[in-house]
Symmetry: C2
Subunit: 177 residues, 2 copies
C-alpha cells in the first residue's frame, strides 16, 4: 500500500540520520540503516534502489522540513521580517547540542554534489532576504553569523555558552531591525 510504503520511507530516512549521528558519518552503511529501521536490506533497496537515492531522499526531506518550518515562522507573526524568522528558527535549531544533520557529512563523503539542492536553496533564501531589506551590510552580517551558528552546531563545536548564545541572537535581531 501507499501508506505502508510512505511509512517505510520515513522510518528509513529517520534511521539513516540516527545511524550517521550515533555511529559516525563514515559508518552509514545500508545494512546499518536497514537494521536500525527494522527492515531487511532487500526492503531498504526496494524503497531506495541505490545508496545515492537514499542520500537524495535525506536532502529532500531536510529541505522540505526546513522550508515548511521557515514558512510557518514567517506566517506566525505576519509583521515580522523573514530574516527575523530565519534567525529565530536557526537559534532554536541550534539549541540541541547533538547535531541532527550529521548525515550531511555522509552525503558529502559519498558525493559533494548531493548538497547542490541545499546550496541552491540557500542562494534563493539570500536573494529573498536581499529584496526584503535595504541595509545590505546588516543583512550580510546576520546571514553569515547564522551560517556560522549552524556550522558550529553541525560540527558539534560547543564554543558558545547558553548565555552567549542568547546574547548573540539578541544582537542579531537588533541588527536585523
Amino acid at each position: 500500500m501507499r501508506a505502508r510504503k510512505a511509512n517505510s520511507r520515513d522510518k528509513i530516512l529517520a534511521a539513516a540520520a540516527d545511524v550517521a549521528r550515533e555511529a559516525g558519518p563514515g559508518s552509514l552503511s545500508l545494512e546499518a540503516v536497514a537494521t536500525r529501521a527494522g527492515v531487511s536490506k532487500g526492503g531498504l533497496l526496494y524503497n531506495f534502489p541505490t545508496k545515492a537515492k537514499l542520500m537524495q531522499g535525506l536532502v529532500e526531506r531536510y529541505l522540505k522540513d526546513f522550508q515548511k518550518a521557515l514558512e510557518a515562522r514567517a506566517a506566525e507573526n505576519g509583521d515580522e521580517s523573514v530574516l527575523s524568522a530565519y534567525i529565530k528558527l536557526s537559534a532554536d535549531d541550534c539549541e540541541q547540542p547533538k547535531p541532527s544533520a550529521s548525515w550531511m557529512f555522509s552525503a558529502i563523503a559519498e558525493d559533494p554534489d548531493f548538497l547542490a539542492p541545499i546550496k541552491a536553496f540557500k542562494r534563493q533564501l539570500f536573494e529573498r532576504l536581499k529584496e526584503e531589506t535595504d541595509a545590505l551590510g546588516s543583512l550580510l552580517v546576520c546571514f553569515l553569523a547564522i551560517e556560522g551558528l549552524r556550522s558550529m552546531n553541525l560540527f558539534d563545536s560547543d564554543v558558545l555558552s547558553p548565555d552567549e548564545h542568547k546574547l548573540l541572537v539578541a544582537a542579531l535581531l537588533k541588527i536585523a531591525g
Copy 2:
C-alpha cells in the same frame, strides 16, 4: 635522512589534501594518496603507519599553519587587534573558490574525533578574543560571521558576490572597531 623524511611527509600531506579535493572526500584511499605523492604504498605506510596517523598529521599541519599565519598577521600591525587580524586572514583564506580543506570531511568520515584539536584551538582563540574586547555582543557577531564565511568556503557554497564579500569584511572590521 631527516630532511628526506620531512620532505616526504609534507609531500604526502599535500597529496592527501589534493586527492580529497579532487576525487572527493570519500575517495581518500591510501593508494590514491601514495600514487599522487609519487610514493609507493609501502613508503606511505612507513611515514604514516595507519590512516589515522595520516589524518592526525593533516589536522596538525593545518593548525600549525593557521596559528603561524594568525600570529604573523597580528604582529604585522602591532596596533591592530587580534580580532581584526583574524577577520582579514579569514577573508583572504576564503577568497579561493576551491576549498583547500575538504580533507576535513574525510577526517570526519573516518572519525569525528579527529577534529577535536581544531575545536580546542577555536575555543582557545575565542577566549583570547574575549579578553581583548569588552563588547561581547560585537565579538560574538564577528566571530560567528567569520565562522559562517569559513563554513561557506569549506562547503564550496558561493552565495556571496565579490562585492558582497568586500562589503561584509568592511562591516565586520567596523563592528570590531
